[in-house]
Subunit: 216 residues, 2 copies
């Protein structure tokens, strides 16, 4: 289901981030049984003003009525469609570390549209162990597995020195988006999306901010 | 130890990110026993060109000699000083979830200069359990604990609906930097730094990129 009014291109990353925050809030309110939400509450969840919420959503079509607020279920469906979550995404995780564990099946990813289909590791000590209901597979089987059942998103959770090699293998096997958990830059061909999540990078940024703040 | 040539302000977040990547690479090379690294290898680790590396580092003083590369140990120390990692940072974690677990002591944070001093939770079922060598404390004790021993960085790892409240409490208790693991925007006073790490936000961004790419 693709809405005709939905435009996917030239949308700023900060807008995508707010849409994701709106969606999280809407799904929570839906679970609570709410039929509508005031634009102010939606704005707070996304760190935006009500005017910004209207702008974010009107870019993709018309929504909400002044004084009534936004209808929870239809808006959640619409934001899911805008974000591309109205289709499922198959995810494979390479590297069964602590952050990989946070991606294990059963942690609510399937409800959000992400099916964590397999977890791989390079380390013989981890291969064959259980992680979140999956048995960790030998990364040597990655290409054969993906040839049979392609994946949309690959998670690179291996040590720094192995990260680029695993990224290259995932891309060659048809993966179009990478979540990089290693603290190193990954080179990928144009057309492949990469986001990076690394706690060390974030803590370093906070240390730098504390240092800079203390010198003001 | 603060280098006179070090300037902390008006440095782009992307520069801080590259410095953090350079540091991770340098520390790995130091463990491997290398005395110098070629600028090309440093550039690759940071996703930059050798010219960008020179520019990043020259902003903070002079470093490296053409044809010789960069001296591993002195440069690592210098980058640590630039990032503010030449002093330790006390970290408290509120919310003993999977990402909080990745921050547990023993995962190498202390070597990087981050001392995870305490883990708290709001959930009685988690209070008193062990996590990474620490006993999870009742979040009700946060203010009393921080009055006795202040922390630099607070990690907000509680559910969405509790996140802002925990952030407010940490800031009132003197914490100057927050790592937000909840998928919600946090409002903080100016002068308090916030970074956000959330796997759902990253996966949503990748889903959007796949959708946008498929429509080109």
């Amino acid at each position: 289901m693709i809405h005709k009014a939905t435009r996917s291109r030239r949308v700023a990353p900060s807008t995508v981030r707010r849409l994701s925050l709106y969606l999280g809030f809407l799904e929570q309110r839906r679970q609570d049984g709410a039929a509508t939400v005031p634009s102010r509450a939606l704005a707070e969840a996304g760190g935006a003003t009500p005017a910004q919420v209207r702008k974010d959503l009107s870019f993709f079509g018309s929504f909400g009525r002044r004084g009534v607020g936004y209808p929870v279920a239809p808006l959640a469906e619409r934001v899911r469609a805008i974000l591309g979550l109205d289709r499922g995404h198959r995810v494979v995780v390479v590297g069964a570390g602590p952050l990989g564990a946070a991606l294990a099946p059963g942690a609510g990813w399937r409800e959000r549209g992400f099916e964590v289909a397999a977890v791989y590791d390079l380390d013989p000590a981890r291969i064959g162990t259980a992680q979140g209901g999956l048995v960790v597979r030998d990364a040597a089987r990655l290409e054969a597995d993906l040839a049979g059942r392609p994946a949309d998103i690959g998670v690179v959770g291996v040590p720094v020195e192995a990260a680029q090699g695993v990224a290259d293998r995932l891309v060659r096997a048809g993966v179009r988006a990478l979540l990089n958990l290693a603290p190193v830059h990954l080179d990928v061909p144009s057309g492949v999306a990469v986001t990076q999540v690394n706690l060390a990078l974030e803590l370093d940024a906070l240390a730098f901010a504390i240092r800079a703040g203390g010198r003001k």
